[in-house]
């Protein structure tokens, strides 16, 4: 069933048990992103010191895709350098715009490749990107501070 390419087991797992979904009190930048067309909201904190992503934490409401995707993203970014992290976000964005024609590089995106199927469902791409865009925004703000 087409649906299974969207909702892979990994995604449903992250959805039921999201990682880092508890805002840490200390951060170098905090952002709040919304997806106005469906009402999803997310608050995301990053701690970036000396070009290293030390911590990512978040809270928010949204569908399985946006929750799972944010869970995956936050876990993936932790411990990366800022530069590495931004490259990963870029790789993920590219995957999302691939219209189902790419599988994604598991070495780079890890669990993120489970979201490859989302790219076949245009209305869901924004859900998948919400957490990643919030991270990118926060990371860049943190860089500026």
């Amino acid at each position: 069933m087409e649906l299974d390419s969207l909702y892979q087991e990994v995604i449903l797992d992250h959805y039921k048990h999201p990682l880092h979904k508890k805002l840490l009190p200390s951060y170098t930048a905090q952002v709040h992103h919304v997806n106005p067309s469906c009402g999803d909201e997310i608050t995301l904190n990053v701690s970036i010191q000396d070009g290293l992503v030390e911590n990512v934490s978040w809270d928010g409401v949204g569908c399985s895709i946006s929750q799972a995707s944010t869970s995956i993203a936050s876990d993936l970014m932790m411990g990366k350098t800022l530069d590495q992290a931004l490259l990963i976000v870029e790789a993920f964005s590219k995957l999302m715009s691939s219209k189902g024609n790419e599988k994604g590089d598991e070495d780079v995106l890890e669990d993120g490749v489970a979201l490859a199927g989302v790219s076949k469902f245009p209305a869901r791409i924004k859900c998948a990107l919400l957490g990643w865009m919030a991270f990118k925004d926060a990371a860049l703000q943190s860089g500026k501070n």
């Binding site: 909702y7 569908c63 399985s64 869901r124």
Partner: protein, 417 residues
């Protein structure tokens, strides 16, 4: 007199129902609250306009211009009859959103002291049910004039708390703008008393008829409202056309909204004066083909009979509410009984986000809408991030409800709740 109302027959008039959906399923279209499907007669009317009569209306002495004008003005007559209005009271806009903005901007353009002008301290009365289209234009007008937005709160079933009427509609009230039927919950607002209360304090009453005009008989004289707006695309008509209805005396006193060609009486480099309504509110070459298409849609509805349409939707809603009440873990948001209630059912399934519900239903060819339905303040009031919404129309029947119900069970299975 029980109508001969056979949705399966009606669907044959709508080409889109021949389409095969995801998973090889037939189309179960339960998203008419967002936009309706179009019968072939509407598509043909638009096409005939382009193939035989296309020209700019009111602007040429040639045969095509004559024919285009008479098609366009004929459409206006059809719409006027549909609403029991005077012909010159019917203004073609691009959408209900434009219609409501037109009223708000026209009021904002009025000279201080005019019946339509607002000043600091004046009040605009809305409700928590409002669609953004009947909320933000008033917020903006309030911001520009210093007026204040106040609103009817709703109870847990999504009914207006009418005990607040005297408190809200006072001498300070200039405008009462309410939805006739909630696009989220289906609540039909009993407006008669509110219209009376508004008029008693000299306020203008504006009705958002987006979810009512397509579904039951509207008689502007009987409703006694001052302005009314709806969109053609939700009433079997084309996209890109809406209706602004207003009392003729008001339209002719009001300042125009969009300015340009065709709405003028005279023009110099520095000044212009205005034609009477409806032209005053129809600047530029209008959406002629869409107006003609909307007239064909209204003719289609009339051939079914609006009373029959309403009765059909009522029965289908009863059937659906009954089925929903048997479902575990599924909660209908909005009126649970079928009194003053339209054919819109919002619901939540415990443990599944609306967007995911919609996605699973889509796999079965079932089209519903999910999210805040452009009524975000209502969602916040209800403490929800969104709902899944099924909305019914003339082409839906019990088989569609059954499909929805079994789709919901599949969703619960899929997400293991």
């Amino acid at each position: 007199m029980k109508p001969m109302f056979t949705p399966a027959e009606i669907r044959k008039d709508f080409p889109i129902f021949a389409k095969t959906m995801r998973g090889g399923n037939r189309l179960v279209y339960l998203d008419s609250g967002a936009t309706s499907q179009k019968p072939i007669s509407v598509l043909n009317a638009e096409r005939e306009f382009y193939e035989l009569h296309n020209a700019a209306v009111h602007r040429g002495a040639h045969l095509l211009a004559e024919e285009a004008s008479s098609a366009y003005e004929g459409a206006r007559e059809t719409l006027a009859k549909f609403l029991n209005a005077e012909v010159d009271e019917v203004v073609f806009t691009k959408s209900a959103t434009e219609s409501i903005n037109a009223i708000a901007y026209s009021f904002g353009n009025s000279a201080p002291g005019s019946k339509f002008a607002l000043k600091a301290g004046d009040r605009i009365v809305l409700s928590e049910l409002e669609h953004h289209a009947n909320l933000i234009p008033w917020q903006q007008l309030a911001k520009r004039t210093g007026a204040e937005i106040v609103w009817f709160p709703i109870d847990t079933e999504g009914r207006l708390d009418l005990s607040k009427t005297d408190e809200l509609i006072t001498n300070r009230t200039k405008i009462v703008a309410l939805t006739h039927q909630s696009n989220v919950l289906g609540t039909i607002v009993p407006i008669a008393k509110l219209v009376e209360a508004a008029h008693a304090v000299g306020a203008l009453f504006i009705l958002d008829a987006c979810q009512s005009a397509p579904h039951f008989q509207i008689d502007v004289k009987e409703l006694d409202v001052d302005f009314l707006a709806f969109s053609g695309h939700k009433a079997l008509g084309p996209t890109g056309v809406g209706i602004l209805w207003g009392r003729l005396e008001y339209l002719n006193e009001m300042e125009p909204f969009l300015t340009g060609g065709s709405m003028i009486e005279s023009v110099t480099m520095t000044e212009a004066t205005w034609a009477p309504a409806p032209k005053r509110f129809e600047a530029g070459v209008p959406n002629m083909a869409q107006a003609v298409g909307l007239a064909a849609a209204v003719n289609y509805l009339d051939s079914l009979g609006m009373a029959n349409v309403a009765l059909h939707e009522k029965e289908l809603t009863s059937y659906a509410l009954k089925k929903f009440s048997d479902l575990d873990g599924v909660n209908v948001i909005g009126p649970k009984n079928n009194i003053d209630r339209g054919a819109v059912i919002s619901f939540e399934i415990a443990g599944i986000h609306p967007h995911d519900v919609g996605q699973v239903l889509d796999q079965y060819g079932i089209a519903v809408r999910t999210g805040h339905h452009c009524a975000w303040p209502l969602m916040k009031k209800l403490g929800l991030v969104g709902t899944t919404r099924a909305s019914f129309y003339v082409y839906n029947d019990e088989s569609d409800v059954d499909a929805l119900i079994s789709g919901i069970s599949e969703a619960k299975k899929y997400f293991k709740v």
